[in-house]
Symmetry: C2
Subunit: 324 residues, 2 copies
Amino acid sequence: MKLFLGIDGGATKTLAAIIDEKLNVLGVGKAGPSNYHIVGLEKAIENIKNSIIAASDRAKINPVFDSACIALAAINSKVDYARLLKRIVALNFFVKLKLVHDGEAALNSIMLKNKGIIVILGTGSLVAAYDNNGNYIRAGNWGHIIGDEGSAYKIAIRALNYIMKIYDGRLGFSPIVDEIIRFLKIKDLSEISTIIYTDLKNEEIAKLAPTFIQFASKDNFLFKIIKEEAEEIVNAIKAVYSKVNYKNIYLTGGLTRSKKTKLYIDLIKEGVKRSLPECKVKVAEVHPVIGSIVIALKEENVEISHKEYVRMTKELNILLRQIH
Amino acid sequence: MKLFLGIDGGATKTLAAIIDEKLNVLGVGKAGPSNYHIVGLEKAIENIKNSIIAASDRAKINPVFDSACIALAAINSKVDYARLLKRIVALNFFVKLKLVHDGEAALNSIMLKNKGIIVILGTGSLVAAYDNNGNYIRAGNWGHIIGDEGSAYKIAIRALNYIMKIYDGRLGFSPIVDEIIRFLKIKDLSEISTIIYTDLKNEEIAKLAPTFIQFASKDNFLFKIIKEEAEEIVNAIKAVYSKVNYKNIYLTGGLTRSKKTKLYIDLIKEGVKRSLPECKVKVAEVHPVIGSIVIALKEENVEISHKEYVRMTKELNILLRQIH
């Protein structure tokens, strides 16, 4: 029996899933974050290892895989790739190993057959596609410091920056300040700085974004921020579209799963309609760890029918929900 | 003999200076960073303690001070103040202790007699003044995540974000890319992400800013970034000016000390001239640790003449250069 491993590792957690050659899901495992730009190389490797061991224990197998695909956030350069590959290979769990940017897992997870553009709107942001030659094309996703325009994190920090400007008199008062004070459960706006720098991690800051988007319908300045961030996403879509010309655009990620973010999703849809009227935008529920498994199967030339894919996805979802 | 202590603690280092009641400089000491939003509370307190002990050893005194002023970056809220004060008091070094935002040290260091506005353009940025009632007024300085507009750090990350947009096709090519590749000593632009997230600390990223400002004279998009950041500083000056009406504006910090940043300083000066033609902008060399000492002396009602201030400053500069 051949064993396959898929991993999706990011800023919040690392998920591992194991299947056999009949596409039966044998086990899943969860560990801490493995974005090495945020947690460091040692911690990232440790969490990748822990996720594999957790999944293997549940699958009741030894962790030796015929083919594995590890999809990680923050693989942005050859240096990143080489650093991580060396340490992951040394774990000695794999006969065949593929290490990819997490956008590739997202792309494969929706069975695009290389003919669509995926837009991830989560803590970070990314627009990606495979071109007709199978090359991975991306725009954005350069991280929370020099990138991730249009992401939940970027929206949240821009909204908080706006509030600090009101606080110290650089911008005029808005009634939205009172709503934000209630939402953040603070007494004084100066506490925002303390919360951001000492209390919240990036992914917790990002979780504030849906509410700020909701407030944007009542505040011109917040609305301007949300519109600008939507334009950033549209520009990234245009950059990828110019290289692949695919008309199907799939949105996914946390910002697509909240009722509060409708305004933002609508602004992105309107922007695409204006700039690329030939394109269709759909919101797609994707599970990146499934994309990693799809890549691992491809590497061993295992064919997947749509029916098998749907069954596998359902099984995986049930197990993933158990460890969530 | 009465002993006075002044401390200036920030994201890069903590400096301590000890003087006696005759304003003789007895010793200075240096330790690691004490911006607790960046290094954490434990490390910040440890470095404050170490800077005091280093200065006391050089001064050959026991660390017991009649009056001390500790000026720290990142004291932005009552919560910050309370957290730090409790731990600093527990060090048991002080009869009288004043804990202030580092902008207050900068303000006192140039002997403004409460009649000027100070603009710090360093790794972070700040505009501050005392109003006629002695209240501390500030705009900006909400840190690298939700503030510090117009700072070296903010200019550097915006420039790098611009380059990543060229790299992935969101913006068109500019010849400045080749100059930046040479300046950063990289082979491929994707390495920028790796450098930023795993190699450089905030203050090291900030050190890239003067060169990016220099490049801005040859690149329209970089020029636009520099102009927008200068406008942010001008807006902060306007916010403080509206509360104090002081016509003297003093610029200080790393960005005022480089030949490469002339364009940026000129843009700020032009912006002030346009918005507040009644104001005068000067570049002032300030030493925040001297400002802390001035505050410590005020607390004990020690008068300082301008002559004594100049002598003390000279003595301190000599000693500070020795430990730099």
